[in-house]
Symmetry: C2
Subunit: 178 residues, 2 copies
């Protein structure tokens, strides 16, 4: 036996920094992981399909909620696409955007865009159900298109929610380490 047996050295105390490092393990779905990238691509794809379906319907501008849906899913498209690009970059250079500033920005952005998309989807769903079930005027309107656009917006919101919750969670567990 060498050194340590002669001059016993205590195990270094578990420092706050070490604790933090243990906590910040890669959870799939966070920014900078392949799971996160695929979530972003799903969000983008659903929002883009919703946008195309709604925007190519001839009479959408006559209903405020449908105009708002187009605006909200456009914003969602832009946000998800830019974060997908950021994730791709992070994966390529094998670094992650895991400082509190970026995670906070992502959490706030996800919170805002997902709330807007969800609000737009709910408003459109309310009107589609009103036209289809309550007034029974689907023969005069593009019910199927409205329904598809609404469903796609809901799916896009479903894909944003995990991103938001994970970012918020990682922000909270980071902050508690200070």
């Amino acid at each position: 036996m060498s050194g340590p047996a002669v001059h016993p050295v205590e195990a270094p105390p578990m420092t706050e920094a070490a604790l933090l490092r243990v906590r910040m393990k890669d959870v799939q779905g966070m920014a900078g992981t392949t799971g996160g990238l695929s979530l972003r691509l799903c969000q983008f794809a659903f929002a883009a399909v919703s946008l195309c379906v709604m925007a190519t319907t001839s009479d959408f501008p006559s209903v405020t909620a449908f105009r708002y849906l187009v605006a909200a899913v456009s914003l969602q498209c832009l946000w998800s696409l830019s974060l997908a690009l950021a994730d791709t970059y992070a994966l390529l250079v094998k670094r992650s955007f895991r400082n509190a500033g970026f995670v906070g920005l992502f959490a706030v952005g996800d919170g805002v865009t997902s709330t807007l998309t969800f609000a737009a989807a709910c408003a459109s769903a309310g009107i589609t159900v009103l036209i289809g079930n309550d007034l029974d005027k689907c023969n005069l309107n593009h019910c199927t298109r409205f329904m598809s656009a609404t469903a796609m917006a809901f799916l896009s919101w479903f894909a944003v929610s995990p991103s938001f919750l994970l970012n918020f969670w990682s922000l909270a567990s980071r902050d508690s380490g200070h």
Copy 2:
């Protein structure tokens, strides 16, 4: 000077348990604080007003979204009232519901009820705007009542969001301490 000066005692190392205790300080708005109780009472009051205004409108059952609003704000009323009672109890006996099980239950319940209330409010808002602005048929409908009920549902959602975010935050920062 007594004991400590003669036999100097090292300060005990900051243990994980001590770190946890420091983190779990009372943030106003969490379950078991006066802030939390007042948030719950706001949620309950807004949801109850929304329920009364919508349920006393004669033609609400003809629109699916309005029926859904009545159901969602009823659920919100029940949830907020029961948590207000729990908070009152916690304040009276000077204990708090701060174990992971309760906080998790509160976070999930707040998340579900706030999503339902928000969805109902958005759907009603879409239809109210459709009737009022796009079709211009407010003379035939109770636009003002629909609008008030919708606005109250939104306010109730605004009051639930901080509860949800605080519970989720405290759940995340607790969990990272394990």
